[in-house]
């Protein structure tokens, strides 16, 4: 059964330097508080995986936590660039950032393979693009029945998956709804998992479109109300679009960024 604990204890216990960590949440339920805890606890040399690095990884990259980024779309949605990501790739600040780049379809398939205990997944993808030349976790695979050439992607198996959900019960059963992203797959693909939640309740009353992750498939559940801001938790909060826009000038400047992290994350 999942342990219900604090976020600082969960991160201290479950995330080590050098780990492959996936903070997932596809534009919804992004685990910002957990990202900040990683910065606060000075994790280093992380390989960060995520379809959309988003501002949460812009912060981790700028704070020097990441050695490598595994991703498929690295922008500030509706706003523009992720400047800390760009600065790391273009100028190696605060340290060089290795990248492993996929499409969304490929990343999603990689988590599915991981969650399924398979070493690879098959898709129709990347054909004719320049991505396979730069990404060793993409390879051709022939259909054993038709001979048709398809694309394989290597399974993604994080050391730790971190997601945010609306609720959990006291046994650590986790409930989320709204845009589901790849959170279930990321948790099931990972060796360990941390789920921050808006609230812990006695009983999970089921909702249309919800997904329930059994507590025995989760490592730690941490109550962190509002822990997804400036992203949102459907039914609990609204996406703070203005915040995302305001991040742009902060993140353009190394000093402004560093001051912001010191002030808001510590």
């Amino acid at each position: 059964m999942a342990t219900v604990t604090t976020l600082s204890e969960a991160v201290a216990e479950l995330v080590g330097d050098g780990d492959l960590v996936a903070l997932e949440g596809f534009t919804h339920l992004i685990p910002y508080a957990a990202g900040h805890e990683l910065i606060r606890q000075r994790r280093r040399d992380l390989t960060l995986a995520r379809l959309t690095p988003d501002v949460v990884y812009d912060q981790l990259i700028g704070a020097g936590c990441a050695r490598k980024l595994v991703f498929s779309w690295g922008g500030n949605p509706g706003v523009g660039s992720l400047h800390r990501f760009r600065d790391a790739v273009e100028h190696g600040w605060p340290r060089p950032l290795e990248i492993e780049e996929h499409s969304h379809a490929g990343m999603a398939a990689r988590y599915v393979a991981g969650a399924s205990g398979l070493p690879f997944a098959v898709l129709r993808g990347y054909a004719g693009t320049d991505l396979p030349a730069h990404t060793p976790t993409i390879a051709p695979v022939p259909c054993p029945f038709t001979g048709e050439q398809l694309t394989a992607v290597a399974a993604l198996r994080p050391d730790v998956a971190v997601v945010h959900a609306q609720r959990a019960d006291r046994s650590g059963n986790v409930q989320l709804w709204g845009i589901l992203g790849v959170q279930k797959e990321a948790v099931l693909a990972a060796r360990r998992s941390i789920v921050t939640v808006e609230e812990v309740v006695d009983e999970l009353d089921r909702r249309p479109g919800d997904v329930v992750l059994p507590g025995w498939a989760v490592t730690a559940v941490c109550p962190v109300p509002g822990g997804t801001h400036p992203s949102y938790a459907l039914g609990y909060s609204e996406r703070d679009d203005a915040w995302y826009a305001a991040w742009d000038p902060i993140s353009r400047d190394r000093d402004a960024f560093t001051a912001w992290i010191e002030e808001h994350v510590g």
């Binding site: 596809f26 690295g74 398939a109 599915v112 129709r124 693009t129 991505l131 709204g178 589901l180």
Partner: protein
Amino acid sequence: MSWSADEMMTVAAARALAGVRTVFVGIGLPSTAANLARRTHSPDLVLVYESGCIGAKPRRLPLSIGDSGLAETADSVVSVPEIFAYWLQAGRIQVGFLGAAELDRLANINTTVIGDYDHPKVRLPGAGGAPEIAAACGEVFVVVRQSRRTFVDRVGFRTSVGFGDGPGDRKRLRLPGRGPTLVVTDLGLLRPDPDTCELTLVSLHPGVTVEQARNATGWELRVAAGLTETPPPSDEELDALRALQATAPA
């Protein structure tokens, strides 16, 4: 009513969706155009977002593909693996709507990098859903502002395939869709030449000259024999577009 070049572009893109049932929508201009189509000529148009929202009917213009209004109004919300495997890859979506940082003569798209991949001049966001949208949708519409910076002879990085190296390439690559059949810009409309696949100017927006379009194109732009002028946005179209944009977050 007077109108801007961006308004003309969005209206022209929305018009292209007439008669279309299902469209896979990226955020930004494509989403605005698709929502405009739903509010004008195509109320039953099914908007599919890569965030897993099928049949979204957002009341306000979403800023991100994960906007809560998409999930709350969708006929069904599925996981991201499912939206790509069961819905996009299986060839169920008629039109894919893409933007581009660079677009080349053969309609290939770069959203990855300007300059050397390992030592980039500009690191762009990357692929997202685009490579598989460009491969699997029945056809692709690209919406992009036209300039020598975006309209290049040959993209420096091929993130999403238009017509590859030319005729026959999509078939050779086993890309099931027809590829980019229409490019909508702030200056006019381009379509691939049936023989060469080269993007060719087929319509100019009102007030735009062929010379302007050529100056905004990084290759020697060909002009179709039957070049037309795009009908200007109607008052109804402009009203609907402005009402839609007024719903967007500040």
